[in-house]
Amino acid sequence: MAIIERPAPGTTVPALIPAAPAITPTRTFGALRRPVATKGWKSWLFTVDHKKLGLMYGATALFFFIVGGLEAVLIRFQLAAPEGKVLNADLYNQMFTMHATTMVFLFVMPMAAGFANYFIPLQIGARDVAFPRINAFGFWCLLAGGIVVNLSWFLGGAADGGWFMYAPNSGPVFSPSNGVDFWAFGLQIAGIASLTGAINLIVTVLNMRAPGMTLMKMPIFTWMMTVVQFLLLFAVPVITVALFLLSFQRSFGAQFFDVAAGADPLLWQHLFWIFGHPEVYILVLPSFGIISEVLPVFSRKPLFGYPFVVFSGAAIGFVGWGVWAHHMFASGLGPVSVAVFSLATMAIAVPTGVKIINWTLTMWGGKLVFTTAMKFAVGLIVLFTIGGLSGVTHSVAPSDTQQTDTYYIVAHFHYVLFGGAIFGLFSGFYYWWPKMFGKLLNEQLGSWNFWLMVIGMNMTFGPMHILGLQGQPRRMYQWTEARAGEGFFNLAFWNLVASIGSVILTLGILLFLINIVVTARSKVRAPLDPWNARSLEWMTSNPPKEHNFDSIPHVHHLDEFFHRKYEEDSATHTMREVATAEQVLAELERNADEHIHMPSPSYWPLVLAVGLPVVSLGVIYSIPVAIVGGVIILYAMYGWALEPSVAAESDFDEPSSNGHNGHAVGTSHG
């Protein structure tokens, strides 16, 4: 519903009855009136609520995590033994392309976007994001993009050029199926989600913070996500340009990467990695933010060196733009470029190291409570350190020419992205689950989940260091006994270990899914403040009300919620509890705002997002279909432009006769 009215006690609402004109100015704008459902699937389909959208981002990402994980397991099955026969060469190439694409674009990015959507407004004391309909549009674009990318599995084969899709191997001659077309269009659509999301969240963070919350009192997760949004804002246009060129080359015979026409295929590599390297930080900084929230909470002390963590995050955001060519040390750039990018890459290790130091020192002298969220956070510190250090070894460019495109690199970035990004996300799941769903994830299962993932992860990716240093290249659908060697470091043994590890890892993740089901079935509600948390998002009910806060809190401290619960004893410097979480919340409710205007649901974001895949399919198969898609887009843009963001009460569809949900009609007849 659009407007939450809270009649103040003792006053009567003055009757606002306009002098009824002969023709009332109501049904004039737009072709569709507003959706009205507040329950049931319709309320999700047309919602603009940042929390619902956050959950939808999360659910979509989780689905694609399972898809990408199954692809990974198939890859490991294929490589468990020499001359693997599980997949053929073509299918294997599609599998590793789609595994990376899915995990990067359809799992980690949207999952981080989901957390950001859900928790940034809560953490800064806002009631929604700045542009709620654009927010909804972003989600639907992501879903549409994910569907388009994966549709290719059923329409002649998925993309098979690797997620880096180097030209000219991505051209129509070298990749004759439509997979790459689907891939390019799908990612362009998903890119819209990132771009609109970035603008939306930047505006939200800069303009909608609660009174008193200066930038340096902002929760660290919000800070890291803000850095990520700036990275997205500048990185996504680059990949969009690259994908656009690729689509044009494939669909309309353009020659951007055609050597005979005077082009240089390295253009693609530069475009891709100028996006691709900041992308690494886009993937990992959200998790840095999450564990920077989790570690202080479960150490019972503030984040060590908050300004250093903030500025090192921002520094990573800047220097991250100057290191892209370290993905191209073997491309033949010439010694000067290689030397410059080699040194820049070493430089970026410093702010990353600062973070590890600060997390460790946050734990130092604390009162550590090892919940599952905390275990994942500590796991991240150790595993990411390993990944970071192996990264330093190939920032040394000559060394990298031996290691690039081998399994050593695979090991490195899985320690960074699995041990870093994904462990952080899991820490976030366990930490914020009670906030999102009002129930605690089972800690017993969580512990099993954590340990299986740690063991599985190290068994899968640890041996890859050995495989890579023993010279096993990446992206090979088979490896042969002839090049496997003997003795302790033989490829056969370690490939098998890695494959077994992947099964253990899968079991660990399966336990997480089981944990979700078990928790959903459990009747036990989570306490209001289960972790003794520190930041604003915990100053709401579990899950938060639609309007988040009954009254917007005034912020005086970095860890506002903690400081409302505890006060320092000036003599002993120990902390003394002065209020419970319930008392803090009750205080907010007593001062509740009267007229809380929330943005209204809308059909247009969904309609607009539906037009995009239609255009894509049209360009691939038949131009008239693309025109139909274009008309849908134009129609939706028009409808959107004509619809005020906050509706008058009259601008809604009539509710059905017996409540809001359609199936109630069926039961009454039944």
Partner: protein, 407 residues
């Protein structure tokens, strides 16, 4: 609660120990044992040695830092876990400590950077080259051509594929390019990798200390048979190399009339010469048989088969031309004997007949290639890789007999 946490702590330590052990054993054991032929930690030439000397200390320092961080985290876990102590003072950090801990890694990296800088420029030198070889990548094999260099006895261009033959102890410069997609040339024992990019010529220094055979693999993803695009660098002593060069330029010897091989030559002229060149081969009317791969293969070339049996591999080094026993004999020969054994080439007793026949029978079946005529709309009907020629078994007999004469 307390007992479970201690279990947690023990497990954490186990994990730490395990990862430390892995790092430690990598550092200690990495440079010995009978490792895979593409081991990156066993340099066999000065260029690879330069890389190795640079990276070993970096690995060591990284390992030590990893151990320190893990140890500190482990100590913090053990020391500060919740034993009912009061909520600690809410300190927000110690800038002096923070800055110290930032500057130390920055200094370490600065030192590493200086050495890195020098090695990068040393590895990019081309002014001390003694022998130039052009290397051209194509889906999914490498072509080597030796431009005329009279000081090495190369008076006419030599063109070969499958195995790169170089003189040991000589500074060789590869000039790499590609005919279709990006490939990457990598012989780990001799140097790091360098991409072969269409339209560009990239250089790569190679030098082997000792005669021997060094394995490599295309490392830039290049399509269906990327995994099967292998290479072998064969280093011969300069004297043996001169022998090899002379033989490569020797004139073509047609098989004896009425022999099975002569019939094979006919089959070759009918079928194979459309793509594969054999220098000096003449048609029945006495004209030179000139292959036209540009009219049949998308990427414009097919391996030149002159002196085919002097090589040990075929089909982009995917298959050995030698039986396993003979292959091991060559690969495991010591550096004194290696030259003689390699130069002996392939004879009938050592020929890997089964793989060669399978290849001639139906090439796309044994090596994934885009060779289905129905799927060649985008390439004007040109093949990418060798198609199924539909040869009869007797044709294959004849061809094998003929190919055995090419040495």
């Amino acid at each position: 609660m307390a007992s479970r946490l201690s279990v947690t702590q023990v497990k954490a330590r186990q994990v730490l120990q395990r990862s430390l052990l892995a790092i430690g054993s990598l550092a200690v054991l990495g440079s010995c044992a009978t490792n895979a032929p593409q081991d990156t930690w066993q340099p066999k030439g000065p260029n690879a040695k330069m890389i190795d000397d640079l990276q070993q200390p970096v690995f060591a320092v990284a390992g030590i830092i990893g151990i320190i961080v893990s140890a500190v985290v482990a100590y913090a876990i053990w020391r500060y876990k919740d034993r009912g102590q009061p909520i600690p003072e809410q300190t927000h950090g110690k800038p002096a400590l923070e800055i110290t801990l930032t500057v130390i890694p920055a200094l370490i990296l600065a030192v590493v950077g200086v050495f890195t800088f020098r090695v990068i420029f040393d590895l990019a030198r081309t002014d001390d080259t003694q022998l130039v070889i052009n290397v051209t990548g194509q889906q999914w094999w490498w072509e080597y051509d030796y431009p005329v260099q009279n000081e090495w006895g190369i008076t006419q261009p030599i063109i070969s594929s499958g195995q790169l033959v170089i003189p040991a102890g000589v500074k060789v410069l590869l000039r790499e390019t590609s005919r279709d997609v990006i490939h990457s040339y990598w012989i780990p024992a001799l140097n790091g990798k360098r991409d072969a990019v269409p339209g560009r010529v990239h250089t790569l220094r190679l030098e082997a200390d000792q005669p021997g055979i060094y394995a490599g693999q295309c490392t830039e993803f290049c399509g269906l048979s990327h995994a099967n695009m292998r290479m072998e660098a064969v280093a011969l002593s300069p004297a043996d190399f001169a022998t090899w060069v002379a033989n490569q330029q020797a004139t073509y010897q047609a098989p004896a009339a009425d022999s099975l091989a002569k019939q094979g030559e006919e089959v070759f002229l009918n079928q194979c010469v459309r793509c594969h060149q054999v220098n000096g081969l003449k048609r029945a009317d006495g004209t030179l048989a000139i292959a036209a791969p540009d009219e049949n293969v998308w990427s414009g070339a097919a391996p030149n088969l002159t002196k085919f049996m002097t090589r040990n591999t075929f089909a982009g080094a995917m298959f050995d031309l030698l039986r396993d026993a003979c292959r091991d004999d060559v690969w495991k020969a010591d550096s004194a004997e290696f030259g003689t054994k390699y130069l002996a080439g392939v004879d009938e007793s050592c020929l890997n007949v089964s793989d060669l026949r399978a290849w001639l029978r139906n090439a796309p079946e044994v090596k994934p290639m885009y060779a289905n005529p129905a799927l060649l709309a985008d390439t004007n009907g040109k093949y990418r890789g060798m198609p199924n020629l539909g040869l009869s078994e007797s044709d294959i007999d004849k061809l094998v007999a003929y190919l055995l004469t090419l040495k």
